[in-house]
């Protein structure tokens, strides 16, 4: 009896620890993102997620976060070679895409990556990368109409686009408000699924009010 119990306990504990291992790691990664002060910190988070991704193999989430943090690091570091960062991010995105095709969240990343590449030379690149970003955003909205992040990204895009090109604070404000309203009802599938963006939306809205 004792042996059986011991066996069960052993099995249970090992199963438990195996599961929590992934969850613990992911939670730790998300904490790294939250605490990141510099591009270097963000890169460390990206590398961490990538390590989880290659270990977990068929899971799209760590690839998603690895790509996301890669892009954030690209935005944080002014001197970063944005083409290189976007290239790396796209590799990670295509991995995530392979395990989870037609996911709204992944299309959000595609938009972010294309926008980053556009920054290299916006005057000439908006026609190609700008279009890529816009197409990805449309797809993200269509794939999950309840996802607030495409609207957050759209608002951010509008905010930085001059009024003459169809952007501006007034237009951004409306979309930010819509995004914030959607964050109120959006439920991530699990605590580890993407849920970021409310703070950025509120911050963005505040900037539009100024």
């Amino acid at each position: 009896m004792k042996n059986v119990l011991l066996l069960i306990a052993l099995l249970a504990s090992s199963a438990l620890s195996a599961q929590t291992g992934y969850e613990k790691a992911m939670t730790k990664g998300l904490q790294m993102v939250k605490d990141a002060q510099t591009a270097q910190d963000m890169n460390a988070a990206s590398a961490f997620f990538e390590r989880i991704a290659v270990t977990e193999k068929n899971n799209w989430l760590p690839y998603y976060y690895a790509a996301w943090t890669q892009i954030l690091a690209g935005y944080m570091d002014e001197k970063a070679d944005k083409d290189k960062v976007a290239h790396k991010a796209n590799e990670l995105i295509s991995q995530a895409d392979a395990f989870q095709p037609d996911n709204s969240e992944i299309y959000c990343l595609k938009q972010m990556s294309a926008s980053l590449a556009m920054l290299v030379d916006p005057m000439t690149r908006w026609q190609t990368y700008g279009m890529e970003a816009a197409t990805a955003l449309d797809k993200a909205k269509k794939l999950d109409p309840s996802n607030p992040r495409p609207y957050l990204l759209e608002a951010q895009g509008l905010y930085y686009t001059p009024e003459q090109f169809g952007g501006g604070k007034a237009k951004a404000k409306v979309v930010y408000e819509k995004a914030i309203q959607m964050y109120g009802t959006f439920k991530p599938a699990s605590p580890l699924h993407p849920s970021w963006g409310l703070e950025q939306a509120e911050e963005g809205l505040k900037n539009c009010m100024e």
């Binding site: 119990l5 011991l6 290659v54 290189k84 960062v85 005057m123 026609q127 003459q164 819509k178």
Partner: protein, 746 residues
């Protein structure tokens, strides 16, 4: 029981605490430099770290025994190193090898002028083509501001490195365009038919081009049409010269699109306001329309079909140099149809296919007349040079072509491309004149097969050999043309490229009406390029030697080929500097070309520098955009030394020894982006030859009237107006459905 579990927990915990090891080391690149940001970890675990700014890493792990240490980094090959973890510390230094990718590798096509928005760093952007002052959004006029392309005002076409316009071919999606320019009146250059907005990529190679293309002794201009428009939109253009309207519809899934446009051009008003140097019998009037359809296939392929039709007419009268009081009238009507359908598809992971079928039809109706003061036809005079002026020609040119190219990609950037193409050309003309009446028809079927391969020996050294075999049914001749390109990166962003190639071109069909047994014309190119390129600066120096081994010689009247022993050479040095950074919001380029060229071809009595080559040419192009005002101002200045012109008063020893005065032109254009009727609108204003400098392209001489010094009289060939002006308003309304949906849902 609980004690057991507690114990167990203790056991596991203590195990993980007590068996922790520290892994550390340094990661270097294959150049010996430390690499920061490398992800180093143990395979199948989450344990790892990234290297710091000195390339050093260190992390704890619970794993012991045999394990695999992995290091991965952007742009480098991931490496795996088996390690044995025991003891408290393990040191493992790693060396990563850089991967060959477009981001770091040497560029094979460094000698070309590419305008693309997709590539990492190109010399020109697509916007440059439409915002270069003096070019009026004409692709070949913009190219006249880069080295190697001669500014020639009296004839359309690309005159590249001492080559005639016929030696340069324009290619759209792989298919050669037979009548790229509008039909013109002798002495007045015409524009290209195709708007630069149709293309997403433009690559101009002023020599030493790829084996994938042929039938051009000098250069190819490669245009790649837009894949799928960004969004549905409607466009309207209004100017005193034309009105145009068009639309593009893109479906919601962005998988297919179709569109159409129409334009009506009428220069009556313009020519009434701006003083013209010629007596205008028919101001240019034209209709043109196009249709397009594109769809994306499931596997990232794309099919594109494009059809355009245009009809134009224009006519001038000018005083005859061979008589007093009589005039020469010249009228040309042109109808043109061009169809192009292309298909790109990836066949599996490493294979790509591109194919194109294209058809073109061009009909010129030319009426040349000797006129009296009341513009009535003058009957036959019995004086040859006067009666020669009267003729009517109907010339129809048709071309059908098909082309297939397959690409096989290998690891890194290595690739093999091969394929074939076949062209069918038919020229039918009917000439009515006092001396000759009758049809002149000629046709040719031309076929070629080709292959080339990109071999990256390292990221710093690339070799592209190519081979092309061609056959012309008309002449019954075949050839084998080797091409090669060797590129070497000598420092970051800096490289040397050497291009070599043999280039063949069938003699122009118009010379082959009688005797057809002529071999291909041939030119050999040797080009050395030094380039320093990043996104802010471009500096390029090119030195070249182009040897014309075989050129067509014609009889005195330049009507028929008589032999093929013509030859020539062109040697020169070209400089290009572009700076997008030094002055904020301001970018400029400077180009300079020096050429030494002579040729003996057509009816040249001796070897001479041709009329289309000036020894020195230079351009300065300035662009400034004020984002706050959405206003762009562009300036360009072009200067060339005098070009040779034919003076019949001189003996054949002094053939083409005269030079025109140097050519100079200052041009300005302004684009203002604004909103008109809720559209995104661009207001364009341009003024060419701002300072009204006297521009002379050459002289035409009388055949029989002498002046007081017993010299044949002459007249300068000049642009039709002293200055040219353009004003236009272009509006576009985006009808993006998704945008509407969002707005409705807000």
């Amino acid at each position: 029981m609980y004690r057991v579990l507690g114990l167990l927990c203790c056991f596991f915990l203590s195990e993980s605490v007590w068996s922790q090891h520290i892994l550390s080391g340094t990661v270097l690149g294959d150049d010996g430099k430390s690499l920061p940001g490398v992800n180093v970890y143990i395979r199948d675990s989450y344990d790892g770290a990234i290297t710091d700014s000195t390339g050093h890493y260190s992390f704890p792990t619970d794993i012991s025994g045999p394990a695999v240490l992995v290091a991965s980094f952007i742009g480098y090959k991931t490496i795996e190193k088996p390690v044995e973890i025991n003891g408290s510390e393990l040191r493992a230094d790693l060396i990563l090898r850089e991967e060959i990718s477009e981001l770091n590798a040497v560029v094979i096509t460094a000698g070309s002028f590419e305008a693309s928005d997709k590539k990492r760093a190109t010399v020109l952007s697509l916007l440059d083509i439409v915002t270069t002052a003096g070019a009026d959004a004409d692709i070949s006029a913009t190219l006249q501001t880069v080295p190697g392309v001669q500014k020639v005002g009296e004839q359309e076409g690309l005159f590249v490195r001492g080559g005639s316009a016929e030696e340069a071919k324009v290619i759209i999606d792989g298919a050669v365009v037979n009548n790229f320019y509008y039909s013109s009146i002798p002495g007045i250059a015409s524009r290209g038919r195709f708007s630069p907005f149709l293309f997403s990529g433009t690559a101009f190679t002023s020599g030493g081009y790829s084996a994938l293309y042929g039938q051009a002794l000098s250069a190819v201009l490669n245009l790649e049409s837009v894949d799928l428009p960004a969004r549905s939109e409607m466009q309207v253009g209004i100017s005193p010269l034309f009105v145009s309207a068009g639309f593009q519809h893109v479906n919601q899934e962005k998988t297919q699109s179709f569109g159409a446009s129409y334009a009506y051009t009428n220069l009556n008003l313009y020519m009434a306001v701006i003083p013209q140097r010629f007596d205008i019998s028919q101001a240019p009037v034209g209709h043109e329309g196009d249709l397009n359809y594109r769809f994306k296939t499931k596997k990232n392929g794309i099919f594109k079909a494009y059809a355009t039709y245009s009809f134009n007419k224009q006519g001038i009268r000018q005083a005859s140099l061979d008589s007093t009081g009589l005039k020469n009238g010249y009228h040309v009507g042109n109808a043109n149809v061009y169809l192009n359908s292309s298909f790109k598809q990836s066949l599996g992971k490493r294979w790509n296919y591109t194919g194109v079928i294209s058809y073109s039809y061009n009909r010129d109706d030319i009426e040349a007349r000797l006129l009296d003061q009341r513009n009535e036809n003058v009957p036959a005079t019995g004086i040859g040079v006067l009666d020669n002026v009267t003729f009517s020609t109907v010339a129809v040119q048709q071309m059908l072509q098909m082309r297939h190219v397959v690409e096989r990609k290998f690891s890194g950037l290595n690739a093999l491309r091969f394929g074939g193409e076949i062209w069918y050309n038919k020229d039918a003309s009917d000439i009515r004149s006092l001396y000759y009446n009758g049809p002149a028809d000629i046709e040719d079927t031309y076929g070629a097969v080709f292959a080339e391969t990109d071999v990256y020996l390292s990221k710093n050294l690339a070799f592209r050999p190519g081979l092309r075999a061609e056959y012309s049914r008309l002449t019954g001749k075949a050839n084998l043309a080797p091409r090669a390109s060797l590129s070497c990166k000598i420092a970051p962003q800096m490289q040397l490229t050497f291009d070599y190639g043999i280039f063949y071109q069938t003699p122009e069909r118009k010379y082959l009406l009688f005797d057809k047994d002529f071999d291909f014309n041939r030119a050999d190119h040797y080009i050395l390029t030094y380039q320093w390129l990043n996104k802010d600066y471009t500096f390029r120096v090119q030195a070249y030697d182009k040897e014309y081994i075989r050129l067509t010689k014609t009889d005195q009247t330049a009507q028929n080929a008589v032999h093929e022993d013509g030859s020539g050479y062109a040697r020169g040095i070209e400089l290009f500097w572009r700076d997008r950074k030094t002055f904020k919001g301001f970018n400029y380029w400077i180009s300079y070309s020096f050429i030494d060229t002579e040729r003996d071809y057509l009816n040249y009595p001796v070897k001479a520098t041709p009329t289309f080559a000036a020894s020195h040419s230079g351009s300065i192009v300035l662009k400034k955009f004020w984002v706050s005002r959405m206003l762009g101002v562009n300036w360009s200045y072009t200067v060339t030394s005098g070009r040779p012109y034919y003076n019949p008063n001189l003996g054949s020893d002094d053939f083409l020894s005269d030079r025109t005065r140097p050519y100079q032109s200052h041009n300005v254009s302004v684009n203002w982006l604004t909103n008109v009727f809720k559209s995104n609108a661009v207001v364009v204003f341009s003024l060419n030859n701002v300072f009204n400098q006297r521009q002379i392209f050459g002289y035409s001489y009388s055949n029989r009237i002498f002046d007081d010094n017993n010299l044949l009289i002459r007249k300068a060939i000049q642009p039709p107006t002293a200055r040219s002006v353009f004003v236009g308003l272009f509006m576009s309304w985006g009808v993006d459905r998704t945008q509407d949906n969002i707005n409705n849902n807000l």
